[in-house]
């Protein structure tokens, strides 16, 4: 009897100590909190970040931009239309339900009905259930980006989200501006459950006891997310110890954080290209490739990345960042003022001309300053630029109306693939197909269109790569747009956080794997 008591006591102490040693809380400050608990209500970085915390995708991106399995243990391509996914067995949702192929099918169908996600899932046909834990994702056309797209499939608990709630409304409804069951309730497979949420004030994530991934080194049991909108306040909160981790980090404070004793800064080259589009419908001169080239030669984008961005950006000469299949290593930045002047003369505009330009002032890092710098650089080849900047809430309507001769836009490829840039930014604008939706330069090249369509269904990787690199080459030679740079991604936290292993080029730190020493 006494012996058993002793043993029990010892076990208790060990458990307690283990508990004390492991109960780690992460105080996290981001610029905004999730707009909803429903992951399909809006396609944005913030919502995907949230999805990675409370759900798990079938597959996800690694730091090296390769794809690793999460809820899908493995997968195989059956033919050019189909990939078979084998799900992990015994994965539990927060509600206690078990993850099955039905949940995956249900989720894909819901994604196809979401305003924000239906575009990405357009190539998908209805998924096919093979057995309890096996599901075939099928596309209508041969689709090389099936796996990339599967990173957006965070299976939802179909039993939990089916039926009607106490207001008599469909639990699965996706509602942007009003109450819905999914906006306020949650059951995912993720490491964290939302235990408390005050929109705009804070969200508390607590570890889900039944989480399947026990091999993850992550030891954070609770995450307290506080949105801190003001960048200076966010940095001060980290420096004063009020929070443990902040994202994003404003460039002007990066040096300060790097030099501080108790905090660290982690940066990584990003994938969002910042560009200027030259509207050929509004300005006749822009129809001449020589004039466009002259503008590209006149804009010192390396200087902008170095001086304005303080080296926190990677200078670009094409859409695709390094690491993308379509990245063409032969294309280099081409700032050369003399060449630019010479081209202007050849094109018949030695004295230059006057154009208007619009840019947002709170959308991209230093967007307003970048626009000002570019405008003054064009002044050197005689192009007088009348620049107007505005908040992003007003910008996109103006952008769509194409009120500026030159317009700024930054683009991140949702599929992490080169084709996406061309579909939205460089294909001939076509209202019916929706291609070239953000091509306010009205650049139109049938060869680019042909290639962009072709790579959508080219499953031979080597051929795809060659075609996409050729697309970048054509856009480069045509000076279809003015590439500036890819913004760096940045995170900062206390020194005892192992930040490096959890960050990735998607800007979704995998907090489930975070180790706090």
């Amino acid at each position: 009897m006494r012996k058993t008591t002793k043993i029990l006591f010892a076990i208790l102490i060990v458990l307690l100590m283990a508990g004390l040693g492991q109960a780690k809380t992460l105080k996290l400050a981001m610029d905004a909190d999730p707009v909803s608990l429903d992951p399909h209500v809006q396609l944005s970085g913030g919502m995907l970040q949230y999805s990675h915390m409370v759900f798990d995708p079938l597959v996800r991106w690694t730091k090296e931009t390769t794809i690793e399995g999460r809820l899908a243990e493995r997968w195989e391509r059956l033919d050019e239309f189909t990939v078979r996914f084998y799900l992990k067995e015994g994965v539990k949702f927060h509600s206690g339900n078990e993850l099955t192929a039905d949940d995956v099918i249900w989720t894909v169908n819901r994604l196809k009905s979401s305003v924000d996600f239906k575009g990405i899932f357009e190539p998908f046909a209805a998924p096919v259930k093979v057995d309890m834990y096996t599901v075939d994702l099928v596309t209508k056309v041969p689709y090389p980006l099936l796996l990339n797209t599967a990173t957006y499939i965070f299976p939802m608990d179909s039993k939990f989200y089916s039926g009607t709630d106490d207001r008599g409304m469909d639990k699965a409804a996706i509602v942007k501006t009003d109450y819905s069951f999914a906006n306020e309730n949650l059951s995912g497979t993720g490491k964290y459950r939302v235990t408390e949420r005050q929109q705009g004030v804070k969200v508390i994530f607590d570890k889900f006891a039944g989480y399947w991934d026990t091999s993850s080194p992550g030891n954070v049991d609770q995450i307290i997310l506080t949105p801190i909108k003001n960048a200076a306040t966010r940095v001060a909160a980290l420096l004063s110890g009020g929070v443990d981790f902040i994202m994003p980090v404003p460039p002007q404070d990066m040096d300060r954080i790097e030099n501080a004793d108790n905090v660290q800064l982690v940066t990584m080259s990003g994938t969002r290209i910042i560009t200027l589009q030259l509207n050929q419908n509004r300005v006749d001169a822009f129809k001449d490739p020589k004039v466009r080239q002259a503008i590209v030669y006149a804009v010192n984008n390396a200087g902008i990345a170095e001086k304005l961005m303080k080296g926190r950006a990677t200078v670009g000469a094409q859409n695709s960042p390094k690491g993308y299949l379509g990245h063409n290593p032969a294309l280099t930045p081409r700032y050369d003022l003399n060449k630019a002047k010479q081209l202007m003369e050849e094109a018949g505009y030695p004295k230059g001309f006057e154009v208007s330009m619009i840019a947002p002032n709170n959308r991209y890092v230093n967007d307003e300053k970048i626009a000002e710098a570019a405008a003054s650089m064009l002044g050197k080849i005689g192009i007088k630029v009348n620049l107007k900047t505005m908040p992003k809430a007003q910008y996109w309507d103006q952008f769509d109306a194409q009120v500026g001769d030159i317009q700024m836009i930054g683009w991140h490829s949702d599929t992490e693939d080169t084709g996406n840039f061309f579909e939205f930014l460089l294909m001939c604008p076509n209202k019916e197909t929706g291609y070239g939706q953000y091509n306010s330069g009205n650049y139109c090249n049938s060869e680019v269109d042909r290639l962009t369509i072709a790579v959508q269904s080219e499953t031979d990787q080597a051929k795809r790569i060659a075609m996409m690199q050729q697309m970048e080459q054509i856009a480069y030679d045509d000076a279809a747009f003015v590439p500036l740079h890819w913004q760096d991604l940045s995170w900062a936290g206390k020194k005892n956080l192992q930040i490096e292993p959890i960050v990735n080029v998607m800007d979704f730190p995998y907090f489930g794997d975070l180790v706090i020493e």
Partner: protein
């Protein structure tokens, strides 16, 4: 009295009506809420359909009439971002702002009265001179700069005070209060000082100027001649009359502060009305914007009415029109 209040209520309705019209007329140019609620790759048709569903494609007067029809039933519409009725959101955020304004008014009253009176009684004292020159500096420094400097000194460098948020809150009957915990008080200290940094110097100067003027008046001279004690003359006879203009200005300022704590709240991530307003502008959350502007209109009218009533109490020679009947 009742006639006065009724008149004020009618005025309030007119004010709110005008504000709502203006709010509606300008909300179109704040930006496109649909763009804020969707991912960038959503097709133009989908966006258009969504706008249609929200009724944003109609001319503004059509939208206004629809809004008015619901508003008379007490429904000011749903906030796009919060996905809840705008009035609920405003009521939920109000305690944070009211507490902030309350504490900073407390600071203003506690400091401006003794300091203002002192510098009026002893205008040549070095402390008075210091206060006068100091108050110019205080008025001239923008609130956000004061706030950022305070965060830098007291949070980052010294580590004494928390830099953001409201801290631990206690819920009493729908009112989220931070004034009942030590943590809450530590959090409210810097924001309230920052907020009072403009008002405090203003009030010190105001009280000083009024007091000096009163001290020159005939009835004070008579009191001196009568041989009353210093204390009684300064703090009873002179001070009471000094208060009149102070109350007027104070009332107006109080309303302004409740309405426009935007800068302070943004810097300290203080989850009140000012912060909410700024975010609503950025997100073009137009129902919330219009509801908030109307709320501010009501606050202004209420505060001014109360000021008028207090005015009558302090100075019996002033009669509110309609009160005698």
């Amino acid at each position: 009295m009742i006639a006065f209040v009724i008149r004020r209520i009618i005025q309030a309705f007119i004010v709110i009506f005008i504000i709502s019209v203006i709010g509606f007329a300008v909300k179109q140019s704040v930006g496109d809420p649909v763009r804020e609620m969707t991912g960038i790759s959503v097709s133009a048709e989908e966006l258009q359909e969504f706008r249609e569903k929200l009724g944003l494609n109609d001319p503004w007067y059509v939208q206004y009439v629809r809004f008015l029809g619901k508003a008379v039933q007490g429904d000011l519409g749903n906030s796009f971002f919060y996905k809840r009725p705008a009035t609920d959101v405003i009521l939920e955020k109000a305690p944070a702002t009211l507490e902030l304004v309350f504490v900073s008014s407390l600071i203003v009253i506690l400091f401006s009265v003794p300091l203002g009176v002192f510098s009026a009684i002893r205008p040549n004292h070095f402390l008075s001179r210091f206060l006068m020159s100091g108050s110019i500096v205080g008025v001239s420094i923008p609130v956000f700069l004061t706030a950022i400097m305070m965060i830098y000194v007291f949070s980052v460098k010294l580590g004494w005070l928390p830099s953001f948020g409201r801290g631990e809150l206690v819920m009493i009957g729908g009112w989220d209060s931070g004034l009942l915990t030590v943590d809450g008080w530590l959090h409210i200290l810097m924001p309230s000082v920052a907020l009072s940094s403009i008002m405090l110097p203003l009030f010190i100067r105001l009280i000083r100027a009024e007091m000096m003027e009163v001290l020159e008046s005939e009835y004070i001279k008579f009191a001196w001649a009568k041989g009353l004690s210093n204390r009684r003359i300064w703090f009873v006879h002179a001070f009471k009359n000094t208060l009149l203009p102070v109350i007027t200005v104070g009332g107006v300022q109080l309303g302004v502060t409740i309405a426009f704590t935007i800068l302070t709240e943004t810097v300290f991530q203080w989850q009140g009305l000012g912060f909410m307003f700024m975010e609503a502008v950025e997100r073009s959350d137009s129902p919330l914007l219009v509801a908030y502007l109307m709320f501010v209109g009501i606050v202004m009218v209420v505060v001014n009415t109360i000021v008028d009533l207090i005015y009558g109490l302090v100075n019996p020679t002033i009669r509110i029109s309609g009160a005698s009947s």
